[in-house]
């Protein structure tokens, strides 16, 4: 399916570009400015070149935080995307149950992120929280404030609970957009459920799944409020993700220079990996699935 060339189509895109550029360009330039200067106060800024970048790139705690982040985001994608697709497949196609399921799915998404962390503090408390109390009654010693492993498990549970519905909603909308005729043709051919999934549903969901993967990667890689509120980055530094460390640098030490350089590097990492995911997902669809 090739598209006709039409530069007039730019007219339809201009409002979007203007609106986004209005918000994007000046702040980005400002942050890049911070990252190459030493700022003492208004009008007192000195060019320092790549000094902050070298300082940030040599920071061991940042390296650790980044590895932690890759592990976290990798697990997020490996759990949430397949789980989201499976749930979308299990959802009813019509009737009152659809409304019910859609509304229930949306609930975790609608709670402000700082509140989610706060609710989970109580939810996981061994003495007064539903999850913590139940686990302890089963004889499982569970305490995310003391054990790094428990802290990770809690964060992953919270993350999967919070965000899998987003993947489900996207996947479900993608499934609903498949014309009935495809299924009828598959039924005539006597295709198995697996074949229907592999050759009809999965290729047709490629677009929405690309968006789901990119969104979950970007947002989980930038995760801040939930772990900050729930674990504060602890125990020790076990759940100190780059965003938490960044805020410590930026607000704790009032160092706009290193914080700016940190932000630029952080942004470039997210950009690079999102671009790679995008390229891979675009080409996967072109390959076998057609």
């Amino acid at each position: 399916m090739h598209k006709p060339t039409n530069n007039g189509a730019w007219l339809l895109v201009v409002p979007v570009v203007l609106l986004v550029a209005f918000n994007a360009i000046l702040p980005l330039m400002a942050v890049v400015n911070y990252s190459v200067q030493d700022i003492f106060g208004p009008g007192q800024a000195y060019w320092v070149g790549t000094e902050w970048y070298r300082e940030v790139l040599g920071d061991k705690r940042l390296h650790e935080a980044l590895w932690r982040q890759f592990l976290f985001s990798g697990m997020v994608l490996l759990i949430e995307i397949p789980l989201g697709v499976l749930i979308a497949l299990a959802m009813p196609r019509k009737g009152w149950a659809v409304s019910l399921v859609l509304v229930v799915l949306a609930l975790p998404l609608l709670i402000p992120w700082n509140v989610i962390g706060t609710i989970w503090i109580i939810f996981t408390r061994p003495d007064i929280g539903l999850m913590g109390y139940s686990l302890n009654s089963l004889g499982i010693a569970f305490d995310h404030t003391a054990s790094p492993l428990d802290a990770w498990i809690t964060l992953m549970l919270m993350e999967v609970w919070h965000w899998t519905p987003l993947v489900v909603l996207l996947a479900y909308a993608g499934l609903k957009a498949i014309p009935e005729a495809y299924y009828q043709a598959a039924a005539i051919d006597g295709a198995s459920a697996w074949k229907v999934f592999r050759y009809i549903q999965l290729p047709k969901m490629r677009g929405v799944l690309t968006i789901a993967v990119l969104l979950r990667f970007m947002d989980s890689f930038l995760i801040y409020a939930e772990p900050f509120v729930l674990t504060g980055g602890g125990p020790g530094n076990a759940t100190t993700f780059p965003s938490i460390y960044l805020v410590k640098v930026a607000l704790g030490q009032f160092d706009l220079g290193p914080a700016g350089a940190f932000s630029v590097i952080y942004f470039l990492i997210v950009l690079l990996f999102s671009w790679l995911f995008y390229q891979v997902l675009q080409n996967v669809g072109r390959g076998g699935a057609r």
């Binding site: 706060t118 996207l170 909308a173 706009l256």
Partner: protein, 267 residues
Amino acid sequence: MKTGLARFALAFYLVVLMLPIYWMVNMSLRDNADILSTFVLFPEKLTFDNYIKIFTDPSWYSGYINSMIYVTINMVLSVSVALPAAYAFSRYRFIGDKHVFFWLLTNRMAPPAVFALPFFQLYQTLGLIDTHIAVALAHTLFNVPLAVWVLEGFMSGIPREIDETAYLDGYSFPRFFFKIFMPLIKTGIGVTAFFTFMFSWVELLMARTLTTTEAKPIAAVMTRTVSATGLDWGLLAAAGVLTIVPGALVIYFVRNYMAKGFALGRV
């Protein structure tokens, strides 16, 4: 395909999904001392004080009103500028199309913490600090790219023959777009409306940076429950329960769009 096992698994998932929500409701119906001292599955000392406080204290309920105003402006603005742009991306090639398309999404990729300061300066220069418009405009930074991407995905699923047939039948572009094309991508518009609502509703950092009193969002008001005596968990939980309500209404109203799916057969 809908086996008993799938139904059971779905029901199980939904129940697990509801557990933390239930706990929030449970907490919202108890007072602070009760929450912190005992574990009870169902509130024994039932109280509605937390909700009464929110509904009678203007500094609380105005937070909900402020959030709803800027979220609604943002949702309408994002979807309406994204619709034509997504159509252009899905139907035509033009200079720089692929670069602009990916560039849009890069605006969701920056860690927000350090960007708060220049954002404040930008909106201060424009004299828009503490207005609903400021937050609504600022949130288009991450919502417009999302809207364009989601809508483009749905539009690309609609065969181009539909457009061509309509033009041959003498439809002008606006008439074709509103009368024929938009009904076809209802699902996508429903999903997009909900997502833009949701991301704007839960965003805290920008909304808090750009407002002081007049347009202060509910999520920022909620951080005030920390006081000298510690956190008021019951009040916070009640406020949390109430933050779900508007969004649940939104998804309830767009559910038909999301559930109807492919409408080609009915054109």
